[in-house]
């Protein structure tokens, strides 16, 4: 399907869109917390993906990871081009384990703090944290995607977690 799309077959690319749109949207939404912006950027990811698909090479990371790299760059551009908007009302819902209103509020608040802290990381650190913890990619996949060694990815992860600890202060830990 990817090969067909790379040869210019729109229907194949449309099927790739069907397969990955939810994940791309979720990835962007996690980082911008705004439905409108997430929708705009998701559309842009696929358009850019179509324009650049001939440059996609199998590198050991899944195709969706390549799309998420485009998404990552667009999110960075987005934050560079405008002040960060933090629309929290629609962002992260409580996890299933929270059962009463107080628990739900606490989980929601903690996730908001974390989400906000992740947004303050350097772009590369953000990418590693989001790809590993949110998207569930293996270190090998992230390494292939970023063109780095697995060891380098673990170093970035370690630094990112230390930075998160610094941002979050003493409240966690």
């Amino acid at each position: 399907m990817i090969e067909q799309a790379a040869k210019g077959d729109p229907q194949s690319f449309a099927r790739l869109y069907d397969l990955h749109v939810d994940r791309v949207y979720r990835h962007i939404f996690y980082r911008v917390s705004s439905v409108g912006v997430a929708e705009d950027l998701t559309q842009e990811v696929f358009l850019k993906g179509w324009q650049a698909i001939h440059r996609y090479k199998r590198t050991g990371s899944p195709f969706v990871a390549w799309l998420l790299t485009i998404a990552h760059n667009l999110v960075i551009d987005y934050y560079r081009s405008r002040k960060r908007e933090t629309s929290l009302e629609t962002s992260i819902l409580p996890s299933d384990s929270a059962t009463n209103p107080q628990q739900i509020a606490e989980v929601r608040w903690e996730q908001h703090r974390l989400q906000d802290a992740i947004r303050q990381l350097r772009p590369e650190q953000q990418q590693v944290i989001v790809l590993h913890f949110i998207e569930g990619f293996e270190y090998s996949e992230i390494a292939a995607l970023l063109g780095k060694s697995e060891g380098a990815v673990r170093v970035i992860q370690h630094r990112a977690l230390k930075e998160l600890r610094r941002i979050l202060g003493k409240e966690i830990g």
Binding site: E39, W50, P94, I134, R154, V155, G173
Partner: protein, 414 residues
């Protein structure tokens, strides 16, 4: 190159997440790194994937249709690569990001390269035609150059009109395009109404534009009903969805129109206040008459919506507030007239809300309160001597009216 602590951290995270170890097991296994590992592990394990946040099906369908439209709209590679880029760019992005100069140049070049005649010919193009991308490009340009919200909203409505017209002309063998057309119709209708709403919220008068939306969307419903009976079975669902979209659009336009009438009524009361302070009682009477017309228009429009009861409650609260503000500022001689208006309004709304609750016709309930404003005004015009027999007769009549309205008036001191 990762050092040992980075590898240990990664290993611990993997083990705990996979359920192969607990945090305590890891810390016990690497006591030397315990103080550094513990807080980092806690943070790492606190990062959870968000629950299933999914884009709406409507967005997915719309974005898919646009993506395909953009792909089909691509031109062969030319030396004007930047122009091709503009032609390919997504509509939303272009609206948001493109610099004016780039667009101006692009349009000039595009028109110059394809020729005005081609642009004109493209107006009849249907999805699947070679000139169709040209047509949508021109629409995009019109949207971009619509600088005011009002013009933008009107342009979105025109594009929605065009999509309906295309649906009605689409040959049977192109039914694969129905879904995309419907999605474009929905997007433009909703976006147009968003802009109208924005305009109203900013205090603008959008009644002319809303009238057009009401008229056009009613027409769309008729066309879509016909299309629904003609399209292939596999496209029927999409057309039914479009009918639903137009019903919702009309409902929203009616709600917005009701709000516009309500704001007009509120504005009129404020004007009454100004005239009363200036001692222009004739104008006060006239304005109250216009206010009554605003209210009738509001009730008529509100009764066409599903939210009629909520709208009536909202209007009652809004006008009560305006009346109280006005009554605090107007001169003594105007108080009685404005109190009458307030009384009539509140009682009218009470009755109307009751009527809706009973499932009765709203307009009938409202018309019961048709009221001649001039009836209780002659004392201000100097036509009746305060305290005279005629004056007291008028007062008694006024009291009877007020009793109808369930309020006990305060007796006047002649």
């Amino acid at each position: 190159m990762a050092t040992k602590k980075e590898e240990i951290l990664a290993q611990c995270i993997a083990d705990v997440k996979a359920g192969r170890a607990r945090v305590e097991d890891c810390l016990a296994k690497y006591p030397r790194w315990r103080s550094e590992l513990e807080p980092l592990l806690k943070i790492a394990l606190a990062i959870e994937p968000p629950p299933e946040v999914s884009p709406s099906p409507a967005f997915k369908a719309r974005a898919r249709a646009r993506l395909l439209a953009q792909i089909h709209a691509q031109r062969p590679v030319t030396k004007e690569r930047w122009l091709r880029y503009i032609l390919m760019k997504d509509r939303v992005t272009r609206e948001r990001r493109f610099k004016m100069a780039a667009i101006v140049i692009a349009i000039v070049l595009a028109v110059a390269s394809i020729g005005g005649g081609t642009a004109y010919a493209s107006q009849d193009a249907l999805p699947g035609d070679i000139l169709y991308p040209e047509k949508t490009f021109i629409e995009d340009a019109r949207l971009f150059f619509a600088f005011s919200d009002e013009t933008k909203a009107a342009t979105h409505l025109q594009i929605a009109d065009t999509r309906i017209e295309e649906l009605s002309r689409l040959p049977e063998d192109r039914s694969g395009f129905v879904e995309g057309l419907v999605e474009e119709y929905r997007y433009n209708l909703e976006r147009g109404l968003d802009l109208v709403e924005q305009q109203i919220e900013q205090g603008g008068n959008a009644s002319g534009l809303l009238n057009r939306f009401q008229e056009r969307v009613t027409y769309h419903q008729g066309v879509l009903q016909v299309v629904c009976n003609q399209v292939r079975i596999e496209a029927r669902h999409a057309v039914e969805y479009a009918i639903n979209v137009s019903i919702q659009g009309l409902e929203r336009a009616n709600r917005l129109m009701a709000r516009t009438h309500l704001e007009n009524a509120a504005r009129r009361i404020n004007q009454v206040s100004g005239m009363a302070q200036a001692g222009k009682m004739g104008e006060v009477i006239e304005l109250l008459g216009e206010y009554d017309e605003d209210l009738v228009s509001f009730v008529e429009t509100a009764s066409d919506t599903e939210d009629v009861e909520a709208l009536l409650e909202e209007a009652r609260g809004r006008l009560l507030l305006v009346f109280d503000q006005v009554l605090a500022t107007v001169p003594e001689q105007a108080i009685s007239a404005i109190e009458n208006a307030k009384l009539k309004t509140m009682t009218g709304f009470d009755e109307a809300i009751d009527a809706v609750g009973r499932g009765e016709g709203l307009n009938d309930a409202w018309q019961e309160f048709e009221f001649d404003w001039e009836e209780f005004m002659p004392q201000w015009e100097g036509e009746i001597e305060p305290g005279s027999e005629e004056w007291w007769n008028a007062w008694e009549e006024f009291k009877r009216e007020r009793n109808r309205f369930r309020f006990e008036p305060t007796p006047p001191i002649p």
